[in-house]
Symmetry: C2
Amino acid sequence: MTSENPAGPADPVHPVSRVHPVSPSAPTPKGHQRRAALLDAAEHVLGSAGGAELTMRAVADAAGVRLGHLQYYFPARSDLLAALLDRILTASLARVSSLAQAGGAAGDPAAVLDTLLGDHDDPSLVRLFTEVWAMAAHDGDAAGAVGAFYAAYAGHVARFVRDRSPGLDPAAAHSRAEVFVMLMEGAALFRSGIAGRATPATDAVLRRTLLGLLGLPGSEGGAA
Amino acid sequence: MTSENPAGPADPVHPVSRVHPVSPSAPTPKGHQRRAALLDAAEHVLGSAGGAELTMRAVADAAGVRLGHLQYYFPARSDLLAALLDRILTASLARVSSLAQAGGAAGDPAAVLDTLLGDHDDPSLVRLFTEVWAMAAHDGDAAGAVGAFYAAYAGHVARFVRDRSPGLDPAAAHSRAEVFVMLMEGAALFRSGIAGRATPATDAVLRRTLLGLLGLPGSEGGAA
DNA sequence: TGTACATCAGTGAACGCGCGTTCACTGATGTAC
DNA sequence: TGTACATCAGTGAACGCGCGTTCACTGATGTAC
């Protein structure tokens, strides 16, 4: 059955079959959507299993695609990690930003605080951030991205502080905002089950301290 | 040349040659010392290269021994990780404990604070703790050990707080101590270069807030 | 003080496996004429 | 409205490598008699 048609009907053999085309980011709506779905899967793997288990195969499995297809969007694992870090930080900053605006000058600061502290109830979100910190601790690029994220985070908080205390020196507001963020991130470790559990008594002191840093009454010190 | 001496001179062939003997922990001074040296090497690898590079071969190389020898002391990688975590937490707790006692009732709290904050200048120490947090975030055993460590840490701080404010409810002192530890660990991220850099202005607010939690004057709020 | 023997300390080679990566390939989708 | 063709989207197999682990082995050190 080996048909010998030297001048058969066209038989349009593809040309040299190049390696994966450039396709740095998704150029098409569908591509953009798939890329996002792949990052969703990667985020889920990182939050539930950890960085050591964040393999290309595990992400492809979680997304329900084949390994080769994941690599069409993220040719190297480092590309996936960089995009994932960017996604996590971007989403988190958008959340902070919208909270700060919604709760600005008018809204209830205590409610904003509750919302932020509520994030600590999601263990996989906190896990995600422990991984982000570990990434930043060992990789300069990641550290740059994480540093920029927290600088923007503190910037939002500083604006919030200045809204409350219009007379305050901007630099002082910024310092207070930075300490606010330090405490917030430290609290995540101790309220999520990783290094401790949230308790009402300690939460009360925590809230008072955070509100104090925002420049609100009922702030400091003596418990009970 | 195949000599056929069925009743040759003894030829004391070893018996069945068992697998590595039990040797759970080092039974000998030398063994204890070697074990410590191997953990030194592992700690160095973890602090400088990160958890993903903490391979049995990398640790053996760093310690100047052969892979098989490392495995004589730590048959499985999980054994090494568990021992390493224990070592890091034990050493850190001993440091906190001696600081709290030295600076107790008599000493200068601000100096104790300076010493604790000084630890953030050692990037590899902070890196170590980001790895510890990531371990705890994904492994129940590790979370237990880390939780116990921080509970003991907070206990030392709570005693310190009660020394300063004898009338304070012990539970209140403990809550203040817990928030102190939260802020301390959060600050580590932001003062070590991982997510930010220490600045004098922010350090001033940080110190004031930490001292306030310890129940000392010059505590809270208004900057400048 | 010997001597026999068990255990401790350390080596070296090999294993199977999962990893990131490469690559040739096919089908679907857009787009120019 | 076709038709040709480039690009996009997705598959499947194979690669070389480093990993944790296994294991047989040797030399050093203690210890009982």
